[in-house]
Symmetry: C3
Subunit: 155 residues, 3 copies
């Protein structure tokens, strides 16, 4: 169990570092080619509603998203910092792991203001790929249903 927690911890840490350092182009590499990435709210998730704030079902769509973020130049205006709880291993098979991890993201604006941007949990399905885990599915369930119109950077 501890080995799997260590492995997933490392993967989550790498993911957070990637976004927090502004290296958005590398972000899609944390996903399998065939993947689901969704941002939704706790209310919607609890009700089983499919509609999310953001939805992608291939790595190509994630790449498109990064390209449009770069074009819109939104990223220059703020940075994130992620803090992650310890992954909770929901189930584990030979080649995949389901886990849930609390997240807390602060946003730092260009003027230096820092606020609590979002809290919630990642509901993940990791493919282990023999020690190099990638996300087959990440559902980002935000606790709050109030979304900032700047919601743009990946969570």
């Amino acid at each position: 169990m501890n080995d799997v927690i260590g492995l997933i911890n490392h993967a989550q840490n790498a993911y957070a570092r990637c976004i927090d350092s502004g290296n958005l182009e590398a972000w899609p590499d944390f996903f399998e080619e065939d993947c689901t990435y969704k941002i939704t709210t706790a209310d919607n998730y609890a009700q089983g509603l499919e509609a999310g704030v953001i939805f992608a079902n291939s790595r190509g769509m994630l790449l498109d998203r990064v390209a449009s973020l770069r074009e819109a130049n939104i990223y220059e205006r703020h940075v994130y910092r992620h803090f992650l709880g310890q992954p909770w291993i929901v189930s584990q098979e030979t080649s995949e792991v389901r886990s849930e991890t609390s997240f807390f993201v602060t946003r730092i604006m260009r003027d230096g203001t820092t606020d609590v941007y979002a809290t919630g949990r990642y509901i993940d399905l990791y493919k282990l790929n023999g020690g190099a885990p990638k996300l087959r599915e990440r559902i980002v369930v935000c606790d709050s249903s109030r979304f900032d119109t700047l919601l743009a950077l990946p969570l």
Copy 2:
């Protein structure tokens, strides 16, 4: 040492998940039948004052507390998300462990507002029960002495 940290980490993570998911009825199960649960402030704790904001000395009292929370229906109005530091092992014997763990709790109101609700540390005495640790004592020492009148959910 790492084994104990892993064990306590897992227990703390389970505790936080229980509250954050709103499963209050399961919360008393993290405690021994004969237990102490107390919420106090850093000032009071440093002065050795016994008086706390909340005090219970049996699992039955924790169950009563959950029942009254449900009746008052306070829980519908907000949710918590806990973030925990790595447990610090203060002492370790065959069947019990004393640890301290920093906590940070955000509160998400129904209107979507998210704020820093409380920070502090858990001062815990865990009975190990052969790998299924339960709390014999949890003193929740909040850094701030300003308590929200909504203080109701367990920390």
Copy 3:
């Protein structure tokens, strides 16, 4: 790798506990005699600017800093609570480890107000000293360039 992460995790946890408990006199002991401690901003760091908000290049300078904090009595007015991400091992040799760790610090004022004080990352060079790691270098890179005039306690 997990052993090193555990070792650095423990050292970081001890460091945070030291400051959060107000035991400033012990803070310099986390550093080698010959050390660098610097607080700077992400902007300055990215541009390679040397100028930092705070700079010290020996343990003696850190001791001086603690002494002047005590004299100014600033510490009585607020406390900190640190939350640290999992250390990211950048490189590892026999006797030293380079790591990066996200931090998030809340500040609790005497009147009970709690706010997000600073976020950023520690860029560290740890000397391992056969299992008793000490900091040869800590660069505290704050995400925000807006510094509170109270910046006084160590980060």
